[in-house]
């Protein structure tokens, strides 16, 4: 599996805090548009990445300042691969589940949005974290025409 000619589209390292989300959305939107995605797909993808970053801010770093998020976007012929790395303690992927939409309550929608928009989502430990208990890598794949 090799990247298409465009390859790596984005590599962005930002502080894990709510005020950075607009910067992240703007950067992701520019990349996804450059890959030829239509307006609706672009909006959906931007929402999903925003929600994934929020999960990192709220649940991995527990809202504490000082953490960082690395966002990478790779463009292949038929798909976009989004990799989000954090350096918080490793989380149990089983705890990251969408809620039942029929259960109307304020929280728990972000993970549902991510799974609806992305064709694949995988939680692993980042390669750089081998041997310690820190870090999470969320890899999300969205197929494109």
């Amino acid at each position: 599996m090799t990247p298409a000619e465009d390859g790596r589209m984005l590599e962005l390292r930002v502080p894990a805090r709510p005020a950075e989300l607009k910067t992240i959305r703007d950067a992701v939107r520019s990349c996804v548009e450059a890959c030829g995605c239509d307006e609706k797909s672009t909006a959906d993808i931007v929402l999903a990445i925003d929600e994934a970053c929020q999960n990192i801010i709220r649940h991995a770093y527990h809202g504490q300042p000082g953490g960082q998020i690395v966002i990478e976007i790779d463009h292949f012929d038929d798909k976009l691969v989004f990799s989000l790395t954090d350096f918080a303690p490793t989380i149990d992927p089983e705890t990251v589940k969408p809620r039942d939409l029929d259960d109307i309550r304020p929280g728990g929608l972000g993970t549902h949005f991510i799974r609806h928009v992305m064709d694949e989502t995988t939680f692993t430990k980042p390669p750089s974290s081998e041997g310690n208990e820190e870090g999470n890598l969320l890899r999300m794949v969205r197929r494109i025409d």
Partner: protein
């Protein structure tokens, strides 16, 4: 995000402009719950909301549920297509009362 609250025909009309994201949704929540607390019917104008995320949607859900407990009505008006898409993804377009115009919201109860 900016917001405004005004009274029209006995209802509180809460308008938001811009992006209701994690940075701004605590303020949106405060404004919405403050409006519901007045025990008046509330209409939330989302025509100028270009982006809303799950935290913004959660604020709407919480205010909606508070209004039910208070016995007042809570409706959305003129929902921007970008915001409507997010409500649809959450299947909340079937839960909220959505008026296509402010006049409809003011005229027809909710």
């Amino acid at each position: 995000m900016e917001h405004a609250v005004r009274e029209e025909q006995g209802k509180l009309v809460v308008s938001f402009q811009g992006e209701v994201d994690l940075e701004h949704s605590p303020k949106a929540r405060e404004v919405l719950l403050g409006a519901v607390k007045k025990k008046q019917d509330v209409l939330v104008d989302l025509s100028e909301v270009s982006y809303i995320d799950s935290s913004g949607v959660a604020s709407l859900v919480e205010a909606f549920q508070s209004s039910k407990k208070a016995g007042s009505s809570f409706g959305l008006v003129s929902v921007n297509p970008a915001a409507l898409r997010v409500l649809e993804l959450a299947r909340l377009d079937r839960v909220f009362t959505i008026h296509s115009t402010l006049a409809e919201g003011l005229g027809g109860g909710s």
